[in-house]
């Protein structure tokens, strides 16, 4: 049952860690092909929202629908599997598996989880490595790659699941300034290809250029949700203004 035509629909979700309420009623909907950036001070619940969308964190209260999956009703990892196929995630610390080469990192889940055929997956993985401009690093282990290269492998790994949606969790926050660019370029290409993306980011300039919509979160709530030009140039809420005043 859908409440709207949006691809992702989040309605009034609450989440607490112990006594601390991180999400205090977040609502957001994302249409197919849309790129939405979430910005805001640390601790405002940005990354938590992403983890709730793909079921990594269970919510306490509220409604989350991704495509045909009602995420808040899924209980076991097994029930989550079709959802995880549809939604990939890229992390701040890349989270590559250190005991596998770049190519193997990309191939593992499609073969082991989705049961796709090895030859076809390898072909797909090599193409993805080309796409993120790391075709020559197929046999390198994560420990031999720079942060930016690892992050691009992680993006290729997420893409290899052939997801409809990718969640990016502060993917450039741990990178050297000079490698940030190459990762952002890769993400921009995905957005241009029409992949639905939700990005938690501190790169305001990037958010402005790439996003269809920007959400500003503060203390567990989405304070403001508008197209980038509007949100950055004429912020309505005083908290948005204060935050942008500090970071821009």
């Amino acid at each position: 049952m859908k409440r709207s035509e949006a691809l992702i629909e989040i309605d009034n979700i609450h989440k607490s860690f112990g006594n601390f309420e991180v999400l205090k009623g977040i609502s957001l909907s994302v249409n197919e092909g849309e790129a939405v950036c979430i910005i805001g001070p640390s601790g405002s619940g940005k990354s938590t929202v992403l983890r709730c969308i793909n079921g990594l964190l269970p919510i306490d209260e509220g409604y989350i629908r991704v495509g045909k999956h009602r995420v808040h009703e899924l209980r076991s990892e097994k029930e989550m599997r079709p959802l995880r196929h549809q939604v990939s995630m890229v992390f701040q610390q890349y989270n590559l598996f250190p005991h596998k080469t770049a190519l193997e990192n990309i191939m593992m889940a499609p073969i082991q989880v989705l049961g796709h055929e090895r030859a076809e997956v390898e072909d797909r993985a090599r193409k993805l490595l080309e796409k993120v401009r790391l075709g020559n690093k197929a046999d390198s282990y994560p420990g031999m790659l720079s942060g930016g290269q690892q992050q691009r492998v992680a993006i290729a790994r997420a893409l290899a699941m052939q997801p409809e949606i990718i969640l990016f969790d502060e993917v450039t926050a741990a990178l050297d300034p000079e490698t940030v660019k190459e990762v952002l370029l890769t993400i921009r290409e995905l957005v241009d290809d029409g992949l639905t993306c939700i990005l938690v980011t501190h790169e305001m300039k990037f958010a402005r250029e790439v996003a269809d919509r920007v959400c500003f979160t503060d203390r567990g709530l989405i304070v403001e949700n508008a197209p980038p030009a509007e949100l950055f140039d004429t912020p309505q809420d005083p908290r948005t203004r204060e935050f942008l005043g500090q970071v821009l």
Partner: protein, 238 residues
């Protein structure tokens, strides 16, 4: 030389005892090490599930087998298991005999002893697993079981390999205690030979050398394995 007399070594009977002893020691060590490693992995998996009663059970197992002498465990296994009345009929002679031989009892007792130590080693390996790795596995749709075998075990076993080497070399040496329950391994035959020849010192020196050689091969193998499994870009790789 030094008044040592090794002329008994020329006797084919003693030679075959030594060879049989070495083979049985190797079999005992290989079997109990394999089972101990399996117990270690499963125990650590059990602990990582954080189920209250399972935790308590595994902890109890570890405490009992880690904090009692392995010799006592072996005697205990031998006398309890053999009095259980499990019997089988020998197909050749038609005689009744205990289902569990002394060798089997030694194997079980050594596996449990090594397993208890291995649980601790694997547990420490799994505990150093970055939460990020687990999260990546989950986000890619891996089930708990698949994540454990395909991601956590390969990484954790590299982390705990040095302590596993210690456990396995210790276990290898502890196999000698099986001689007490009449398992015909190297130590047992050593006793047989010096009781026969009264060349106690000579036999002990020889047995000592054989153990040094065997255990050195084991630890050399483990260090090669460690080097082979070192993750490029991590740890002590040159």
């Amino acid at each position: 030389m030094f008044g040592l007399d090794y002329s008994w070594l020329a006797d084919p009977a003693y030679q075959s005892w030594l060879v049989t002893g070495v083979i049985n020691t190797l079999e005992l060590a290989a079997l109990s090490s394999s089972v101990a490693i399996l117990i270690g992995m499963l125990g650590a998996l059990g602990l990582s599930l954080r189920v209250f009663w399972l935790d308590a059970l595994i902890e109890l197992f570890v405490e009992v087998f880690r904090n009692t002498p392995p010799l006592l465990q072996m005697l205990f296994a031998y006398f309890t298991l053999s009095t259980l009345g499990l019997e089988t009929t020998d197909p050749v002679t038609g005689l009744k005999m205990p289902l569990l031989s002394a060798f089997a009892c030694a194997c079980i007792s050594l596996s449990l002893f090594g397993g208890a130590l291995a649980i601790e080693a694997f547990r420490s390996g799994l505990e150093t697993m970055p939460k990020a790795i687990t999260e990546a596995g989950r986000s890619l749709g891996y089930s708990r079981w698949a994540r454990f075998w395909r991601i956590e075990v390969p990484i954790a076993s590299r982390v705990c390999l040095p302590s596993l080497t210690n456990i396995l070399t210790n276990l290898f040496k502890t196999t000698s205690q099986a001689s007490v329950i009449t398992v015909p391994e190297l130590m047992y035959y050593a006793g047989q030979i010096y009781n026969d020849t009264f060349r106690t010192l000579e036999v002990m020196i020889l047995i000592l050398i054989i153990y040094v050689v065997l255990v050195s091969i084991l630890s050399y193998g483990m260090s090669r394995l460690e080097a082979y499994l070192t993750l490029p870009g991590y740890g002590k790789e040159q």
